[in-house]
Amino acid sequence: MNSVFILDPARCIGCQACVHACGECGTHRGVSMIHLECMDRATTVQTTPQVCMHCENPTCAQVCPADAIKQTPDGVVQSSLKPRCIGCQNCVLACPFGVPKYDAGPDQMQKCDMCYDRTSVGKRPMCATVCPSEALYFGSMEEWRDRRQGTPVNTFRFGGQTVKTKVYTVMPARSERIDIRLTDIAGVKR
């Protein structure tokens, strides 16, 4: 897979196309895995999509008591293995990006697996295919650099913890890392 996934939340227009397309994915048909959050309804119309960032050393897998979360050789962190997941929700609470979803019916966790049925055969994930504003981009890094500004960054810092991910996030030029501060969302409106 030579393509990269680049997230640019500031471009999100909240159209929900990704949410609906995600539900069409073959690996979790009918259930959407992408999250689309309103930042703060009272003060801003800004929305932000959240896909699995596919961490290099995934926290979700480390805190899973059932060893149910596996990585493919190309670094995609898979949804829980159905025979193993015991539905404890450790992954839901520990993922630094709030990604895994717990479904009480089958008592299992499910999460974004970068549309592995598609990306493993060279197609784009559902969400990036339909996103009209390129808040979700999947393609070559060269093409992205030709057309866009900023720097794709994939190292995060949460307190004392560093997390490196397969999925990039767009930051101003020359940024090397995103230090996640517990910022006041309302404060970002201009």
């Binding site: 500031a10 930042m39 800004q46 932000t48 805190v63 059932a66 609470l93 630094p96 709030g98 990604v99």
Partner: protein, 347 residues
């Protein structure tokens, strides 16, 4: 390789294998009812027990697993709750292990396939293991040569005429199991080859090998019956060898592959007791938005586990990222990016 083996796992594995050997020795009347022709099956079973207990012990030592294991028993055995817990255990056992209703909620086809595969296999094991170990054996009734006597652990457990519905059923029970497994397997296979979601993530070793193994055990088993019933024992010894081969490979595969979930998955019951306790006790409110999002119990346990795993999610001001709810976490990436680029609008 020996030096790399986990000591606790090895000790537990050896203890379990020795216990099984002792149970075989005494259960078969000091080997009087043990058929030496079945020694290969027995050896493979002893190995499988070692492997399963070894892997289970290693698995239990992972920090999150150890935490749930300890907590699960702690909450289950709490004296004040024990009677209620026992009732709940019976109910959980019936729903999740016997009827496997959680699979039904995913799809009826998967549920049917899993019920047939699991119960076909479990029933077959419940019949064959005691027979192989000499715990159960049959003898012709000395008073009535047309009748059979059944013995369990050397004690007379009943007599039945060989040519009767009960006799027929007893001697064909493994055939029924084989048919159940084959039908279940066909349903599972259909999904594995036609479902685009399944085809993209499945692996040969993890998802096909178990199906192929169960299929070969069942088919060779049925062929043995066919050989005796309709072909006057034609090719019987060759088929018996083939059957033994497939059973032994399956036994040896038990600790490694997908079948390990049979032993691991019941941990779900422990998690249920954990969740009960979590519902009864204090809830944790998010340090950012103030909304309750999980139990204090699980949040504090997660912090302990994360520390054991060498993670540090604490900020300089003392805030722990584990106290932030998943919804706020999802907003953090966007919020920090917006802040870095100076508010809405893009680069």
């Amino acid at each position: 390789m020996l030096r790399e083996m986990d000591r606790k796992g090895t000790a537990n594995g050896l203890a379990a294998s020795l216990l099984l050997l002792a149970a075989i020795y005494f259960g078969s009347g000091q080997l009087r009812h043990f058929d030496p022709a079945l020694i290969a099956y027995t050896s493979a079973t002893v190995f499988a027990v070692f492997g399963i207990v070894y892997r289970y012990s290693v698995w239990l030592q992972r920090p999150p697993t150890e935490m749930y294991w300890r907590r699960g028993w702690q909450f289950f055995l709490r004296p004040a709750q024990l009677p209620k817990n026992l009732l709940m255990l019976a109910r959980l056992f019936w729903n999740t292990i016997f009827l496997q209703t959680f699979i039904k909620r995913r799809s009826h086809l998967r549920w049917a396939a899993h019920l047939l595969l699991s119960w076909g296999t479990i029933a077959a094991c419940m019949v064959t293991f005691p027979l192989v170990f000499g715990w159960i054996h049959f003898e012709a009734d000395p008073q009535d040569p047309a009748a059979y006597q059944a013995f369990a652990f050397g004690f007379h457990a009943g007599t039945f005429p060989a040519e009767s519905p009960i006799g027929w059923f007893t001697f064909h029970i493994l055939d029924f199991c084989a048919v159940a497994v084959i039908v279940g397997m066909a349903l599972a296979m259909r999904r594995r080859v036609s479902d685009p979601g399944a085809t993209s993530v499945q692996q040969f070793s993890m998802d096909f090998v178990p199906i192929i193994l169960l299929f070969s055990v069942s088919v060779t088993g049925l062929m043995l019956t066919a050989s005796v019933t309709w072909m006057e024992g034609h090719n019987y010894s060759f088929l018996a060898l083939l059957h033994a081969f497939s059973v032994i490979i399956t036994l040896l595969y038990l600790p490694f592959g997908k079948f390990f979930h049979i032993f691991q998955r019941p941990a779900n019951l422990g998690v249920r007791f954990y969740k009960e306790e979590a519902l009864r006790t204090e809830q944790a409110a998010c340090a950012r938005c103030g909304v309750a999002f999980a139990s204090r119990l699980q949040i504090e346990d997660l912090k302990t586990v994360e520390e054991q795993l060498g993670m540090s999610w604490q900020y300089a001001d003392g805030t722990h990222y584990q106290d932030i709810c998943p919804t706020c976490r999802r907003k953090m990436l966007g919020a920090n990016q917006l802040e870095a680029i100076g508010g809405p609008g893009y680069l």
